[in-house]
Amino acid sequence: MPMSFAAEQLLSILPEITILISAALVLMADLFSDQGASPGSVSPNRPAQAARPVRGLSHGLTLLGLVIALGLTGFVGGGTPQILFDGHLIQDAMTDLLRAAILIIGILAFVYVRPWLEERGLLIGEFYALGLLALLGMLVMVSANSFLALYLGLELQALALYALVAFERDSARGAEAAMKYFVLGALGSGLLLYGISMLYGATGSITFGPVAAALSAQETNEVLVFGLAFVVIGIGFKFGAVPFHMWVPDVYEGAPTPALLILGSAPKIAALAFAVRILVEALPSLHPDWQGMLLILSVLSMGLGNLVAIAQSNIKRMLGYSTISHVGFILLGLLAGSRQGYAAAMFYAIVYAVMAAGAFGILLILSRQGLDAERLEDLKGLNDRDAWYAAMMGLMMFSMAGVPPTVGFMAKLLVLEAVIRIDLVWLAVVAVFFSIIGAFYYLRVVKFIYFDPPAPDAPPLAGSAGVRAAITLNALAVLALGIYPAALLSLCQAAF
């Protein structure tokens, strides 16, 4: 097939282009700023006040780029689905929605991290550039229409995230976490690529449309199922579903909280897009096969995630296990194999990213000079220290536990509805059973916030007016979406 290229196709990827330009600009701007404050030579205790005006530049550039990209997403979005660049990219309702969700969460995340970075003299361009590149990778993933584009986006995101986990270079734990993340992530990518190669061999195409067409024409055979198994393993790794979850708790515990904020929120949306594009758009005729695989992953994730989270005293690690259990719920929606199920899974993934961003944002505020807030005790008496942040964190926790009127409940309701609709009532019972267990450890967080007096040496809360506004927005979104979920739900349903 001859390459066809039309300049107007570039219009559709303007948001991606904007992010790339911002990343490049941030890198360049960083070159001209204070050389003495490069990360290696800054001791963690020396505030980088002198360099602040220039440092603020990369922060400003990043946010500006994200906001422009968000605006452009709205500008180029809508209309009929278009397939671009020889079938490698697609722009449809799902692309628009997930792009916007990723960008919004990206904006929130970058607003949250600034005080933390400033305090440690780490307000450096690299952090922003890497974060932007990770977001770029996610954006490519949500608009991919071929295995190749999907894999490129995935690797761009993953490489940027590996580096982000290690960006606090004096931290041995960060380096260890990054190493684990890298090794297991590379393994996952390798398995995924292997599976893709088999699917390519069986169908003769790497773009999703022709793959689906080729599959519907032929009987299921061993090569296909074999390839599918590897692809599902790849999805499991990227989602962090049991039994491919081993990297999750260690990375969550070891990564510096700002990196975790970026790693723990928006990538779930990208992972969902990744799963939907492959399973739903490329391999719909293999649904009976992947349904069973996802079912096992889902039940194991909900079970292990919720049970092990109870035993954690490190809140970051606990949230890691909590992620695993939420992934189980997302997979539950996917395996239903119906429009409602996909929409429910998408709703859940977006909502989870919003909740996670808020929760990690508050952990950033609680971090003290040189130390991240990571023990549950660090949350003690938050209600006495700052009632507003306490209420916001409480909302996040109740939402993660799935208690109405927060959106966490609506997400669970939609997933359960989809599962019951395909007559898997027992699976719904299993899911709610594990979510009761899950409620316990979220309640424990609320207990520390509200029922315990603050530690006498509790440091003042970090965080600026901007952070407070962003957290407020974030938490009230959790409440507002729970009370009126119809708008977001309609968008999710329109994507399928």
Binding site: V403, P404, E417, V432, I436, V446
Partner: protein
């Protein structure tokens, strides 16, 4: 006049709670007056419900219906009938006393305390008025959040354990109800509870749904053996929390049985009614005996609540025992009247228990505020130093024991009468409550109120101040009023209960399973929704 009264009743206190919160801790006096004002206005509006209520029909009234989540066909669908309306008025009425009771006693973050109660009031009224299952579930679960915080922040020494236990127990029960509701949605195509009422369901489905509902409501009521959270929660909760728990939250379980279990799964309920009746009788007798040996006043009242709620559930489920009697088909009328009597008795019992147990918890609160002990052994001869208080406490104890002339008697009497129609032996067992309740309450009163002054602390007690006198005085008046003249209460709910009995005693199985139906086969009464 077409004011959306129910919406006002739900959202006004919630907005009030937010206003009080926004006001902050500094203007404390302003905060509590604002809270009281919102509570009073909400009560006034709920009285509007009572006045405007048409007691001649069983249809839903004050219906409000608006689109909410069109993708799920869930609606903002509110309405009341003769069962829910009195409970709404009870809720808004009791909240006033809770606000007044927290006036001076709560020192730590008082505005948050009052705000939590106001928000909870709105949510509880929402539970009673929601006719859409999703809306109902949202209110039902959301209620847990303020209660969890109230017990955990302002509770006693063992509060963390108690509140987490409370939350998890209730959560456990309700998530299974959620699955049942989603299943019913799948079958009926809408989340409207009234649509659920005339949906044909197979026997297996009915039994499973009944069990799911039973778990949710039996935890809330609470019924033996799911009751163990209650003594803990009651004992650790601050006075206001105990009052709301006993007066309203337990009623929500009973309300759930009437709104969901009876009309949605009549055949499943008929099959398993004997379990509920047996558990109710166990609650009445065994828990009555347990209450006898408590030495903590709050725990004693908590156990007495379980026993009294056993009466309500007994009254509700008699309908099936009566419907299964061979005489039912020939002499439809008398049995139906027995069923109606049982349900109405249960309802009256619930409402009267709301006043009485609330008042008793307030009485214990009065003592606790002064001496900071709930142990019966720490008191004695209180009447010598607090004559007004002694009079009030003795009065409420008598009402709790079911003394004729108080509202406590009416409900118990009605339920026992109805039970006689079903079985003599059940009635005999149920009637033991008259002895047991008298024994445990009066013995407590004897040890706390009468006798010589026990110690210096009791000798130094101050009698009720004006605030406490208003609180207890008004409640005493209401208990007496409904005891002497319960007719208005019964009349309001009569058509609704008749409709409910008609719905609950008709087979609901699909055509293919009709042949082994134990309930009479007749046409279902269908609710009209405007």
């Amino acid at each position: 006049m077409n004011l959306p009264l129910l919406t006002l009743c739900i959202w006004l206190p919630i907005i009030g709670g937010l206003v009080v919160l926004a006001n902050g801790e500094r203007e404390r006096n302003l905060g509590r007056w604002v809270a009281l004002a919102f509570a009073l206005v909400t009560f006034a509006i709920s009285l509007g419900l009572w006045i405007g209520f048409d007691p001649t029909t069983a249809e839903m009234q004050f219906v409000e219906r608006a689109s909410w989540i069109p993708n799920l066909k869930a609606e903002y669908f509110l309405g009341v009938d003769g069962i829910s309306m009195p409970l709404i008025v009870l809720t808004s009425f009791v909240t006033i006393f809770v606000v007044i009771a927290g006036w001076e006693i709560i020192d730590y973050k008082q505005t948050q305390y009052l705000a939590a109660f106001l928000i909870m009031e709105g949510l509880m009224i929402g539970v009673f008025s929601a006719l859409d299952a999703v809306l109902f579930y949202v209110f039902w679960e959301a209620m847990l959040i303020p209660m969890f915080i109230i017990i955990g922040v302002w509770g006693g020494p063992n509060r963390v354990y108690a509140t987490i236990k409370f939350f998890l127990y209730t959560f456990l029960g309700s998530v299974f109800m959620l699955i049942a509701l989603i299943y019913l949605y799948r079958e009926s195509g809408s989340f409207s509870i009234l649509d659920f009422h005339h949906l044909e369901l197979g026997m297996t489905a009915q039994v499973l749904i009944f069990i799911a509902f039973f778990l949710a409501f039996a935890v809330k009521v609470p019924m033996v053996p799911l009751h163990t959270w209650l003594p803990d929660a009651h004992v650790e909760a601050p006075t206001g929390g105990s009052v709301i728990l006993a007066a309203i939250m337990l009623k929500i379980g009973g309300y759930g049985f009437l709104r969901f279990s009876l009309p949605i799964t009549p055949d499943g309920s008929a099959e398993l009614a004997w379990i509920v009746i047996a558990l109710s009788l166990i609650a009445i007798i065994y828990i009555g005996l347990v209450a006898l040996v408590q030495d903590d006043m709050k725990k004693l009242i908590a156990y007495s609540s379980i026993a009294h709620m056993g009466f309500a559930t007994l009254g509700f489920f008699l309908v099936f025992a009566l419907a299964l009697q061979p005489s039912f088909a020939q002499a439809l009328q008398p049995s139906i009247s027995g069923s109606v009597l049982g349900i109405e008795g249960g309802m009256v019992q619930m409402i009267s228990h709301g006043f009485i147990s609330g008042a008793l918890f307030l009485c214990v609160g009065v003592l606790y505020d002064r001496i900071h002990s709930r142990q019966i052994a720490d008191y004695g001869g209180v009447v010598n130093t607090m004559p007004w208080f002694g009079a009030a406490m003795v009065f409420f104890a008598m009402a709790n024991a079911g003394l004729p002339g108080t509202s406590g008697f009416v409900g118990e009497f009605m339920v026992i009468l109805a039970t006689f129609k079903a079985s003599f032996w059940w009635a005999l067992l149920a009637a033991t409550t008259l002895i047991l309740a008298a024994a445990f309450t009066l013995w407590m009163v004897k040890r706390v109120i009468f006798g010589p002054v026990k110690n210096d602390q009791v000798a130094a007690l101050q009698d009720l101040d004006l605030r406490e006198r208003i609180n207890l005085g008004v409640l005493a008046a209401v208990v007496l009023l409904f005891g002497i003249w319960p007719a208005p209460l019964v009349e309001v709910m009569h058509p609704t209960v008749e409709r409910l009995v008609a719905q609950a005693s008709v087979c609901k199985l699909p055509e293919s399973e009709r042949f082994n139906c134990v309930l009479p086969k007749a046409n279902r009464v269908v609710s009209q929704v405007p």
